[in-house]
Symmetry: C2
Subunit: 282 residues, 2 copies
């Protein structure tokens, strides 16, 4: 029996809990500052028991941090201060550079594994937790050379139990790539939603005219503001760079539209089509 | 037995053909300038027979126009010139204002029904044709008062056979709303794709980092350039207005990121979340 404590019982933490609970050899402890979430997680049978942080540090061999990234930097050094020397701490944050920096010189840095599972939905909270959220998805481990071999092996075992495939990146590479691939996707979806809501005061028209194309492009605009405001803020520098390039192409489209330059529109769309090569690999 | 001719055997025309062919009481004639597409449509059994335009005009009671919108304006008046007085012509174009204008004073305007089915996928050509593409989707009829009652009734019957629900808008309202809800969705997806391709020269990293969020936001960037360059060009004025508002919100996000104004980010995302009310109605 292995005891795992999960701090933060939302979409990610709750889904990890659910998967581990469905296996025989895990005891799953839950920690959540939000009493309603903690209670909900018990009702939904996501965890075996709700405990305090202190109890979690005492009892668990693995501690998973699944709360918003804006609290991660300040919380992580204290958590490392308090854990026994054989406990492994793994974070699930969507940004990595500043989290890694916050414990770069911590004497227990080796017990920490910095990870980011590329999985999620637009829903949030314990009720959003689902089984198999991580199955055949990727998880990125950053600065693996700073984790002790034993800690890394423990994390890899756990990830494999969840069905995750592991990749490795430096924390700065991670944050830069995520700015373009994930964070910009969310930003453009939020922006699309604001634009459409601004114009379409008559909601029934949005509904009637919502083709499946709008649905998929605006889906991420349903995402949790607390989670995403924290991610955007923590990765603001890379995200601003990504927005600048996005604005450049948007402006090229606009200029081509102004002069009705169809061959330019065709060229740009054909180039954009190239994303097929990438997406169809899946 | 009712004879229907479909001009343009791509995703939309091919899918209509497929649905009608699966019913006993339709003879489906296909017309396509592209010989390869015509041949493919026969191989795929989408149509009973490939015919010339002239034969189609002679034989069919309903003629469906499902070719790119940039050819619609110039082709439609000639088609009306050539059809017998009991034939109904229905177009499936994604823009409507200029198409309607092209036959506004045509003596056979009453035989024409201007329609736009809100259905599609990111794939194109006859191989993209699927059954039930239109089932429970919306179709918008523009300027219905300009269609003769009999022509309108024939169109409504056909749409109901395909499983479509009908709404009515003026052609200018249609084009304006579509600019925001559909065309801007496609534009933002093309732009996202160009931005990510520009930065991520190492494709394997895009693949590894492509979470489901990126997939859904970039999906429309796989769409057919010929189809969409024509739509964008024909609806450029409304689309430019939509881009201006989109740029305004994008810039608000960027300014908030520059000064790390998290409460502003939270406010904007919470407002964007409002799209839930609209999308969840479905």
């Amino acid at each position: 029996m292995m005891t795992v404590a999960i701090i933060g019982l939302g979409l990610i933490g709750g889904s990890i809990a659910k998967d581990l609970k469905s296996q025989d050899h895990f005891t799953v402890l839950g920690v959540d500052n939000n009493q309603l979430n903690a209670q909900k997680a018990v009702e939904l049978n996501l965890v075996d028991k709700i405990v305090s942080k202190e109890e979690a540090f005492k009892l668990a061999l693995i501690i998973i941090l699944a709360f918003p990234v804006d609290h991660m930097e300040s919380a992580l050094p204290h958590i490392l201060d308090l854990i026994p020397s054989d406990t492994v701490v793994i974070d699930m944050g969507s940004t990595k550079e500043r989290i890694c920096l916050s414990v770069a010189n911590h004497p227990k840095r080796g017990q920490f594994v910095a990870a980011h599972p590329l999985a999620g939905t637009e829903y949030s909270g314990p009720t959003a937790a689902i089984n198999d959220l991580f199955k055949n998805k990727n998880i990125i481990i950053c600065e693996k050379e700073k984790s002790e071999e034993k800690a890394l092996a423990t994390a890899l075992d756990l990830f494999s139990t969840l069905g995750l495939h592991t990749s490795y990146l430096s924390s700065s590479e991670h944050d830069k790539h995520m700015a373009y691939v994930s964070h910009l996707s969310h930003l453009s979806s939020f922006t699309l939603s604001l634009t459409v809501l601004d114009i379409e005061k008559d909601e029934s028209k949005i509904f009637n005219m919502a083709s499946t194309g709008f649905d998929s492009t605006a889906r991420l605009a349903k995402s949790n503001p607390d989670t995403w405001a924290a991610i955007f803020e923590k990765n603001s520098q890379h995200l601003i760079e990504a927005i600048n390039i996005y604005e450049h192409y948007l402006n090229e489209f606009k200029e081509a539209l102004k002069v009705k330059d169809k061959s330019k529109l065709l060229d740009m769309m054909s180039s954009a089509n190239d994303i097929k090569r990438v997406l169809n690999k899946k």
